[in-house]
Symmetry: C2
């Protein structure tokens, strides 16, 4: 039995998120089906995080155990061949110790959210960004974002379906970077609550539009009440960028 | 009668290029249908350049004449509303003099070609870039590109279907810029022959792979023979970026 760590990229549009769903395709199912076709084994794939319908990944980490002897490079190539035409690709594959766990060993998760500020509908970026008509003030958004960094009770920014035991999370980074009419929001934490990034970005958009002040973000956080949420951003603009592990530093 | 200049963006994947085709959808048809629905007139839309199946545009310029009195902003909004769900958007619309012609008044055309250097299949960028497995040497590609800049007979880099009177063209710019595993090729000229950019990029890819030397590019050009072409790049990575007009400087 060998444990493999995978780095995975996908276009979230055709999937009902990462996790198995009864009523539609999931990224997990696509990868497990491909692994089964290669090995004949019932392979379970565990990811660093579960993403929602329509959410993309640039570098999700996952692991699986395989009995059949196979080199990591060969496994990656075979998975990519079998994953076609699904828009899912394995970018890296390595052997890891049997106690390495994509979810439980993960010490930091990094997301990016992309807002395209313009009036016209999106074409090339349709499904890949949240379009908001200008004006949008990125400096006000950054001031609002600063209210959320640190250790807080994020109940306001948590989906009713969130299964986490505690609403306490430490948000290490929430940066707003404007590049022309693209506004990128970078969020980093050890872990996030369900819908937390989209909920935070939704409120930052209200701040950018001048409908909320940065202080309103602080008040929404302090309310610890989902009813205080201003707006939940759509999944289109959300990307799972990277997961960090203590072992990464040594192997890089 | 008012002449309107349009700036248009589209995702080329579902279209058989810009121009009307009997056997499939075209961008021109989509815009003309939208204009007809708004005005009741048979509107002809002329573009700065004709693009092939699968080629994208970030800022194509076009013009059309409309009898019905309508403000440019209203026309743009109505076109965008009617164009849905086609991945075509009008980014700008202005009134221009009756002798302004999107094709004949155009003094420079700018294209970008995107190559993604990696082994794994593309997911988020599928249809939006040409994937080539590494290694690819962008410095060698730049040296090959330098062979093509200037005024030359580009017969080697011209499709058999090209309708231009002359194979002589002046290539003002052919720059190769590497950004991580993305290689961007920027091409500028007053006008291009049919398939010229894709044909040039195809040969530069051979140089990047070490299968051609930069000198081979010069030899292919000197051959003035389509048979000397090494490779035609796929449409996926090609973007019409911008068209320039003498009037732009005054209005900007």
């Amino acid at each position: 039995m060998t444990r493999f760590a995978l780095t995975i990229e996908w276009d979230g549009r055709p999937f009902m998120g990462w996790q198995h769903q009864k009523h539609g395709p999931s990224v997990q199912e696509a990868i497990e089906d491909a692994a089964h076709a290669i090995t004949g084994e019932d392979v379970l794939v565990h990811a660093a995080g579960r993403t929602d319908t329509g959410v993309h990944a640039l570098g999700m980490r996952a692991h699986c155990d395989i009995e059949k002897p196979i080199e990591p490079f060969r496994l990656m190539e075979a998975l990519n061949a079998r994953l076609r035409p699904n828009p899912v690709a394995v970018l890296a594959c390595e052997v890891v110790p049997g106690d390495w766990h994509a979810r439980f060993s993960c010490v930091a998760r990094h997301y990016e959210y992309r807002i395209r500020m313009r009036r016209a509908p999106l074409t090339l970026e349709k499904g890949f960004a949240w379009r908001i008509a200008p004006p949008l003030d990125p400096h006000a958004m950054a001031a609002g974002a600063a209210m959320l960094v640190g250790r807080h009770d994020f109940t306001t920014f948590r989906s009713a379906h969130c299964q986490a035991d505690s609403p306490l999370r430490t948000l290490d980074r929430l940066d707003v970077v404007a590049e022309g009419d693209l506004i990128r929001v970078f969020a980093s934490a050890r872990s996030f609550l369900h819908h937390q990034v989209r909920s935070m970005v939704g409120c930052l958009a209200l701040v950018g539009q001048g409908r909320w002040s940065p202080e309103d973000v602080r008040a929404a956080l302090a309310a610890k009440d989902r009813g205080a949420l201003g707006l939940n951003a759509p999944p289109d603009g959300l990307y799972f960028v990277r997961a960090d592990y203590p072992s990464d530093a040594a192997s890089d």
